[in-house]
Symmetry: C2
Subunit: 306 residues, 2 copies
């Protein structure tokens, strides 16, 4: 019988919880709207308690959370959601509340680092040691691994806030980021698309100029991440990437911007294999949380530096 783990994908609008041993063995699932920390965490804990009665003890819980987060194992506020603008959630001891309520080891990381871990374990990044995972949706967030270990550093990456060239001639939209205006997220997130064109991205036709512009901005982000990290693969998920044409437009634009600089990405097949959607699709986040739980079962704080 397989060891069972719990997983929480904590987003700004909803929580997704599952219990299982891997992508092919998910025993139960629940979803709650994200309200107050107390209420949402109470529902989450209740779900896992009920499931443990039915399925037996879990070995650990993994949490893939919206941020920013304190991921420094030596910090007194390790496991907290820190300065989020989301009402009620700033300075919430998220990992601690779950750990104390369920008396289980807890793995804790950003939603995007968790998704990266899930893709590494079961998806598009299997066998790689250095790659990035981006989500392009309500915001733009990025995580990834370098030399087989998740990116943390001083805080954790905030890849969406890159400063990129803004094509004011073609695009007079000022940008929607409350921190920086026309950073990448301010120019290319879902809300930026909606503000610029006056309609939601999913209602824009395939040949709308929005998509060429979106591909251009995202390509500027992708080449900057390539120059900085030299990833072996770039995985792009999130709602905006559901637009069918965007991958092909983006791949072509990345090749153009690189200017032949990376010879190993010059052919169509090479770029098609390099910039890809998550193999786990929309399940990358919650399955990544499951992968975090599996690591936490082996050591109480995952990814502590060696």
């Amino acid at each position: 019988m397989n060891t069972l783990f719990g997983a929480i994908e904590a987003g700004g609008t909803k929580f997704v919880c599952i219990l299982g041993s891997g992508p092919e063995d998910v025993r139960a699932e629940a979803r709650f709207p994200t309200t107050t920390p107390e209420e949402t965490i109470r529902q989450t804990v209740g779900f896992f308690r009920c499931q443990q009665v039915e399925h037996g003890e879990l070995a650990a819980i993994g949490i893939a959370s919206f941020g920013p987060l304190d991921l420094d194992p030596d910090s007194p506020t390790y496991g907290y959601i820190t300065s989020t603008p989301k009402p009620g959630w700033a300075n919430t001891d998220f990992a601690g509340m779950i750990r104390r309520a369920l008396s289980l080891p807890v793995g804790f990381d950003t939603d995007v680092n968790a998704a990266a871990l899930g893709e590494w374990r079961w998806g598009a990044a299997r066998g790689l040691d250095t790659f990035i995972y981006l989500t392009i949706g309500t915001g733009i967030g990025g995580g990834g691994m370098v030399n087989d270990r998740l990116l943390h550093g001083l805080l954790h990456p905030e890849m969406g806030h890159l400063c990129i060239p803004h094509d004011w001639g073609a695009d007079p939209f000022a940008g929607s980021c409350p921190f920086h205006g026309d950073c990448l997220e301010g120019l290319a997130s879902g809300p930026a698309i909606e503000s610029r064109w006056g309609q939601r991205g999913e209602t824009l036709l395939l040949d709308h100029p929005a998509w060429e512009l979106e591909a251009h901005y995202l390509a500027l982000g992708v080449v900057n991440w390539i120059y900085t990290l030299s990833p072996q693969k770039v995985i792009l998920g999130g709602g905006v990437m559901q637009q069918a044409r965007l991958f092909s437009l983006l791949r072509r634009e990345v090749q153009t911007l690189l200017g032949g600089y990376l010879q190993s990405l010059a052919t169509q097949k090479e770029i098609d294999d390099y910039i890809v959607p998550p193999a786990l699709g929309k399940r990358a986040g919650v399955l990544g949380a499951l992968a975090l739980a599996m690591e936490a079962a082996q050591s109480p704080i995952v990814n502590r530096k060696s």
Copy 2:
């Protein structure tokens, strides 16, 4: 008696070779102009052979080289300088030639990754696990460590080629990068400064507007690297950074661009400790090569993935 190592800092204009056991114990040093690979490598090998007669056998040699390089231990051209425009040096089996001539283990990496390793072992990055090292000079190059291991990935970082916003109003200079025109290197390297202002950077007065503009472009690069990698420190070396005012201008501009986003860099002391020159100064590269040699002595190919 200390174990002795050899180190080669291979630049586009000169080679620097040393032999020793650390920054406080350098027994000999030699410099040669970089001419053809055959001639320059013959001089290098000759230097180490002579020194071994006097000082005894070396344990290993480290090479910190200009690039691009093949650093994939599984590649048939591992250890080569690959597609450099420098005449005669493209497709040169640099590490192999040194290894065969001297029959010693060879450590091989980019000049900037080597400098990062040197700073981690003996300098400004001691005790850190994730940081970057940049050189701002004839070109702009970057390397670093993530979770205590050097950044490699698909190729190796090419941090100088970031796409950043070009302030055409204040700066009509088109950029000097042969690949991308106005990428970061094209706008902010030493040759870019000279082309834009018609005189070399070291001759520009302290209050010349060149320095505000230079600080602005470099700050755009630094914040993009921060957002992508979340380094615990940013070390900036190279000829351009010798300008006394540049660090203070750059630190202030980075704080402005971050827009309060990273609370831990908000005070003067915090930013002063975060963006720093190399503690090893101009010796970071060659001492980094010595650190590569020390790693190579323990395993014949350094930084092979575990």
